[in-house]
């Protein structure tokens, strides 16, 4: 599922960049830079980067469906890690285009499924952990990070609120396609977003994603009610 990273993981650039940005944010100097030593011992940042990868690969083990291959970063993960989610524009555009091209659009040209099934999926936070069974379908994990319906008060705030998503944007084919694409692979729109690539990685099926699109857009869905 994961590709071996081809890019080297030199984190000097990453920390330098972080430091530059910190300098630009007058009141928001991170404590890390106030307290952390510039270098550990005699080791260079590059050496520490290499050692980190060695230790990570040595100190994890397979458990259930979670195999150690999951630790191998693909190009996107490596780039986002290296630049703390703010990669240079050129790299960002290149990888984003790659991700976008890989989106598999529904063959039947339909994007909306059943919002009721979508709501169930949105509530479920399971899937892909070592305690999940391989045959059990993954949940959408939506409420973990997003507000969706006014009724559900237990929603996360890692992602933006999606309350009234369809009510605000309508249900044109363009909007449907956008929502489908965004759930299928949010990284095709925003390379280092926190949101998983649900379709691209195969976490959710095409039918499940359609159900989630319906949850977002259907006028009868709780997302579009008050």
């Amino acid at each position: 599922m994961m590709q071996e990273s081809s890019g080297e993981t030199n984190m000097i650039a990453k920390w330098d960049m972080k430091a530059q940005m910190a300098a630009g944010v007058v009141m928001a100097l991170s404590w890390i830079f106030l307290t952390a030593p510039a270098q550990a011992a005699d080791k260079t940042d590059a050496e520490l980067d290499a050692e980190t990868v060695t230790i990570v690969k040595r100190d994890f083990r397979d458990k259930g469906i979670a195999k150690i291959e999951r630790l191998n970063q693909d190009d996107l993960q490596a780039l986002c890690t290296k630049y703390l989610d703010n990669p240079p524009r050129k790299d960002q555009e290149r990888l984003q285009t790659e991700q976008e091209k890989a989106i598999k659009w529904p063959a039947d040209g339909k994007y909306m499924g059943d919002w009721k099934a979508g709501e169930k999926l949105a509530q479920s936070g399971s899937g892909m952990t070592w305690s999940d069974k391989p045959e059990a379908p993954a949940g959408g994990n939506c409420y973990n990070c997003h507000q969706l319906s006014a009724k559900e008060i237990a929603y996360g705030t890692i992602g933006p609120s999606l309350l009234h998503f369809g009510k605000t944007r309508g249900t044109s084919e363009e909007v449907q396609r956008y929502a489908y694409g965004r759930i299928y692979n949010a990284k095709a729109f925003n390379l280092c977003t926190n949101m998983p690539r649900f379709g691209h990685i195969g976490i959710l099926t095409e039918a499940q994603i359609k159900d989630l699109v319906a949850l977002l857009l259907d006028p009868e869905s709780p997302v579009n009610k008050d």
Binding site: M21, S30, R58, G156
Partner: protein
């Protein structure tokens, strides 16, 4: 902070047409805070501390030796305040160790218990309470009220911190998650649960000084090794080996960030 602010701004901009940040509204969080206050009295972790103290003083293992000569970094047998200075470098083992890893050293060298017997099933479950978990409860309880004072003086300690920091930002797995995905911005929640921002010293201190903890949802005392293990599970990573260097490095990164705060564990969590 810096990057996360930028990132947060980016997200908000990207969605600004139709959303407002959900955490702007805080009444539910206020109610949760009240709930936590209401359950803060009567922490069942006290029972684990009691059991741990007994185990500490009682001869055990093939050598029939107690743990009372165990050196947790402040000299053989000194438990008081030891946890507030961990992880640290130990010259006898020539490595940086967190509490659990150090307890393993003592259980193997003093008591003669094979390491694999300790690490095979190190977390509690239905009708199962490993000795090391109770020892953890006892040892951390002996640092209650002590200021966190983790040192990075030894080169190996610095190295552990630097590696821990890198592990914290390492994105991988089917969900592309890193620790930082959930723990590098202020005021985020998963569902209803507040997420401490480890780039914010106040958050980091509050989180670190209230672990290990009794988890009411599981009816069980949980060590810091368990906390990291379960984070990695939900990060969709494979399993970190118990008390391995990767977990110690990450612990070092977080423990250092809690310096100056008064240790208040074992905590009581939802």
């Amino acid at each position: 902070m810096n990057t996360s602010i930028l990132k947060g701004a980016f997200l908000v901009l990207a969605f600004a047409a139709f959303v407002t940040p959900a955490w702007a509204e805080g009444s539910a969080s206020g109610e949760i805070a009240k709930y936590r206050e209401m359950i803060s009295d009567g922490n069942p972790a006290e029972f684990d501390e009691m059991r741990g103290e007994e185990l500490w003083k009682k001869p055990g293992g093939p050598n029939h030796a107690s743990m009372e000569k165990c050196d947790l970094g402040k000299g053989a047998g000194v438990v008081k305040g030891a946890y507030a200075e961990l992880p640290r470098y130990f010259s006898d083992t020539q490595r940086v160790q967190d509490m659990e890893s150090r307890l393993i050293t003592c259980m193997t060298t003093l008591q003669g218990t094979p390491e694999k017997d300790i690490t095979a099933k190190p977390f509690g479950g239905d009708n199962y309470k490993p000795e090391i978990e109770s020892l953890v409860a006892y040892v951390v309880g002996q640092s209650k009220g002590v200021k966190m004072n983790v040192s990075l003086k030894h080169p190996k300690e610095k190295e552990a911190f630097e590696i821990g920091k890198r592990v914290f930002f390492y994105r991988a797995g089917p969900y592309d998650f890193a620790c930082s995905t959930c723990h590098s911005q202020d005021k985020l929640r998963i569902r209803m649960q507040d997420l401490p921002n480890f780039n914010n010293i106040k958050d980091a201190q509050a989180a670190y000084t209230t672990w290990p903890a009794y988890r009411v949802s599981q009816g069980m005392f949980r060590s810091f090794q368990w906390r990291l293990n379960d984070c990695f599970r939900q990060q969709r990573f494979p399993e970190p080996k118990y008390a391995s260097d990767v977990t110690i490095a990450l612990t070092m990164f977080m423990a250092k960030s809690a310096n100056e705060a008064v240790y208040a564990g074992p905590g009581l969590k939802r």
